[in-house]
Amino acid sequence: MSEVKGVLVIGEVSDGKLLGVTRELLGIGRKLADTLGEHLSAAILGAQLGDLGKELVAYGADKAYLVQDPLLAQENADAYVAAAEKVVRQVQPNVLLLGQTVLGRDISPRLATRLGTALAPDCVELAIDPATKLLHMTRPVYGGNARAIYVCEKARPQMATVRPKAFSVLERNDARAGEVVQLAAGLDPAQVRVKVLDRQKKASEGLRLEDARVVVTGGRGMGGPENFKYLDELAKTLKGAVGASRAVCDAGWVSPSLQIGLTGKVVTPDLYITVGISGASQHMAGCSGSKVIVAINKDPDANIFKEARYGVVGDWKQVLPALTEKVKELVQG
């Protein structure tokens, strides 16, 4: 444990680009490394990573590790956990950070088990305690109703995954100095036990929910799938995207890929308009970082009114068409 040092971020690449959460990891990783007076390294795994090492440096890393292997071409937890373990054993970090993504959720607990350490998943705050120099890892619990702070005293690395959009990104600086090194993953095909047979990805129609600056979200109060067209119309007027609560996805009204919340997507738009949503903590986990939340709900006691900036108490069937008409007039006129 004596030689462990530094902060290591394991990032993710999708369609040849760093994920947003990877840049956020570099932002918080830089802060923690500076507080500790240690260095920040970052690793990305894939089949062909091109120039992305430089980008890791531009967003804050002192040293970038590119782990390239044909077995990493597809997102596969078996291959990724083996490659990640290799990097961590080589770098021997004091602090290890990953993103709370589909892949991050899959590989982090396995990695922690292999490394003999503890993991605090889905953190929204990370800070170095000035007295002990230990990493304090804060994460929402009980569906977001409470928060808990964890430490890892004995084992190393101190390990956390971070919730997307919970941390800010450093401004890209292509002049930053840093080293980019290649690291062989040395993967053995026998390590990959789970085989992907087929992928059915929806080509995202237009704007991705996570990138939209305006999100209009419908809940069970919408009454049925046929009413989502009213949300589409408002979203289109504001150049935004439509989201949904889990209740709506479970009912099969819309695709599960629209689910926002603890077990769905995390969005932080400038404007988040909820219609017929009660504002359960598990839903708010996916949208509470939005700049402005608007609530339309017929129940004045609904929790959403504790979370929203603006609210209308009323039946959406009357409120929404009038709102949309006026918005059209204002933004187009």
Binding site: A77, P109, C152, L197, S204, V292, F305
Partner: protein
């Protein structure tokens, strides 16, 4: 074919959290009096996934395992009343406050004691601590392949075929048996227990094991638990700042809302 399903008893996540108390001396969340705990929702769906396999082929046995103290018998027996065959409970003060690694290690030991198995099913995460770690730790400790966030699980000879939810879509994967699969809400609703099921479950006696029965020394268990430590649990302060737009009619409120958003340069 032997399927093992791991289930956890949790405080009802639908109960208003305002009624929960946090004991800051012990760092415990105290569920409201009089509200019955439930089986974690995703775990109930894992039982459902196992039952669907049992429905589709002959010779399937389902053993449910739960680790925890303070279990309420009527609650924890629900999987039996839904149609599972056996129930194993691991109860021991030594596992109180155990972290994910402790629970994983206890489950791994219990599963080894239960004997040969083909498939382990777990819920994707528990609705109290929301960690989603135990199934993955367990798979590592059992050295078996793991597939997460399943919406459909089917047997395919010596393998399990799983449809899982990924960003913006689904993928179909296959893992050789024995394997572990975690179930997500996209699987669909769990069945209700039938009256006959409830009666049958009432007559069944669960097998109860302590840590020692599993060959785990209590010291060993608590040492494991000390890998990570919770310093504090608290309810973050929230200031309500909602401006409720009032008007003579809901439609008028809608119009006023648009105007207000414009005025504040939100749109």
């Amino acid at each position: 074919m032997h399927i093992i399903v791991c289930v956890k008893q949790v405080p009802d996540p639908e109960a208003p959290f305002a009624n929960f108390k946090i004991d800051s001396a012990t760092n415990k969340v105290i569920p409201p009096q009089g509200v019955s705990p439930v089986i974690n929702g995703f775990d109930e769906q894992a039982v459902e996934a196992a039952l669907r396999i049992k429905d589709s082929q002959a010779g399937v046995k389902i053993t449910v395992i739960s680790v925890g103290n303070d279990l309420v018998m009527d609650v924890i027996k629900k999987p039996l009343s839904m149609g599972a065959d056996e129930l194993v409970l691991v109860q021991d003060p030594a596992i109180e406050n155990g972290d994910s690694h402790t629970t994983g290690a206890v489950l791994a030991a219990a599963i080894k004691k239960v004997g040969a198995f083909d498939l382990v099913l777990c819920g994707r995460q528990a609705s109290d601590w929301d960690q989603g770690q135990v199934p993955l730790v367990l798979a590592e400790l059992l050295s078996i392949p793991v597939v997460t966030i399943a919406k459909k699980v089917e047997m395919a000879g010596a393998a399990v075929k799983v449809e899982r939810v990924v960003v913006d879509g689904f993928e179909t994967v296959q893992a050789p048996l024995p394997a572990l699969v975690t179930i997500s809400n996209e699987l669909g609703e769990a069945r209700y227990p039938t009256l006959r099921g409830i009666m049958a479950a009432g007559r069944k006696k669960p097998t109860v094991w302590s840590a020692k029965d599993l060959g785990l020394e209590s010291g060993q268990v608590s040492q494991n638990a000390n890998r990570g430590r919770m310093l504090k649990v608290f309810v973050p302060e929230k200031r309500s700042k909602c401006e409720v737009i009032s008007a003579d009619s809901p439609a008028e409120a809608g119009v006023k809302l648009a105007a207000r958003l414009r005025e504040d340069k939100v749109i």
